[in-house]
Amino acid sequence: MAKNPFDRAGSSSSITRPPSAVEFTNDSIFRTVAYSCAFLIIVLVAFILWEIGKEAVPAMQRYGLGFWTGTTWDVNKQQFSVLPEIWGTLYSSLLALLLGGLFGVSIAIFLTQDFIHNRLAAVFRTIVELLAAIPSVVYGLWGIYVLIPLIRPGAEWLHEHFSWFPLFSTDLSGPGMAPAALVLAIMILPTVAAISVDAFRRIPYKVKEAAYGMGTTKWEAILKVMLPTASSGILAALVLGFGRALGETMALAMLIGNSNQISLSLFAPANTLASLLASSFPEAGPIEVQALMYAALVLLLITFLVNVIGLGVQQYTVRKFEGKK
């Protein structure tokens, strides 16, 4: 730093002085530190991709792409493949999305479209937040001791009378796709609801005015104007909710049955990539661990892709409304 050019300014101002060398140094150091931390996030993500990829390489070399398409996970024969898990992951998440997405968007409409007083809306918002706060294991525990016994009678009835229908073709003996998907739906509902509420809130007031000014009923305004306007935001909510469902582990590990099979039946046990990792890892020997690392990589790629798409849609939405407010 050059010598203070305002030394002669001292006449009336005996109090102010330029920052000391220490202050200038602190400024440079601190700004560098802050920059590094921001950069660190990028490094962290790259590191995660690198590490998991690295651990997966031995298994990738051994099993190649057959890993994605085979259906056996046999420790004794040392044959590992994850198609049933990929199927289970996608199927359970899709079912969860259908239910959780529907309810999530409905609640978002309920909260933002003037159905209830602000106080009551705050109560429901709290309920949704509490749903999000409950840990995954607790949902798992609840699923085992409350949900499964609850839906079993209904499932057995459906199986008895409609077993020709692929969705009901097996018996619900305990854990299975249905309870897992139901709990998963409950778990992603808050995510979908929160992002959808955000999407509805972004709609400029004048759009609402225009709709009601034409004499629409409340629901005509919602279905014909508000939903279409918020559609990209709601799409983002659904995609991101789907992404959460894909990565969910514990509740599924406890409820899905950990059975490596592919079935359309809602009542058959199944497995997901995440619960495979959770249940097999503790006891796994070195070869199995490598296969599990490959499975982890598959999960990483799928969730990364879905989340990036979801975020892209969300950012597009924000930009769309940026100028309109």
Binding site: P5, R8, A9, S13, I15, T16, R17, P19
Partner: protein
Amino acid sequence: MNAAAEESVFVAEPFTPEGDVVIDCNVEQIYYGNFLAVRDSVVPIEKNKITGFIGPSGCGKSTVLRSLNRMNDLIDVFRFVGSVIYHGQDIYAKKVDPVVVRRYIGMVFQQPNPFSMSIYDNVAFGLRLNKYKGNMDERVERALQRAALWNEVKDKLKNSGLSLSGGQQQRLCIARAIATEPDVLLMDEPCSALDPIATRQVEELMLELKANYTVALVTHNMQQATRVADTTAFFSVDISRGGRTGYLVEMAPTKQVFEDPQQSLTKEYISGEFS
């Protein structure tokens, strides 16, 4: 460019103040990105006087004021061509750090902006920043007294600065700015967010500050300029070349600007024909 085109560019008559010039501001061009915001404005700020900048909206008076303490640097696309000489140094020289400049030249903004700390801490902020080792309580009291706020807050110095009314907050900001006895005080429409009574108090304050400080004031209120400014610089907007570029039209002692303006544009503005 041919001679005819050059002649059509108006540049104000240079103004030479009688006393010492504390800041000699010589704007050649001010750009925001590709937009030419201000051109050709030489505005000398005289010591222990109040220099008022008036003019219609968009004429660049705030931009020029904020250039005097390099506040515009906070805007990425800002570019200053020219010089601002303060104590023999051009503050826009490469070696000069704007942080140092702002220690010597204080600023009061349009919207009152006290920090979310106690009244005392707000006023003491500059003192602590500059590692003042003297009697802090005394300086704080003096600043608050000069800002005509002491009697109203002396019993509640620990209260948050944000708990005061708008007019009080602005006076707090003035106290904060003068606590460190800066050479020059820049005031950017300090009364525009205030009611008439608070405005009157701040105007009286400015007249008292003159004795110890030099003030440069931007105001959209002509009457305020007649009441407090010793010298007035009138800016206007040049739309002759397609854009809206501000420029200095006339600068003279206030009495002369309002009673005997030399430029027709000044005459029109004063008489309210455009604003």
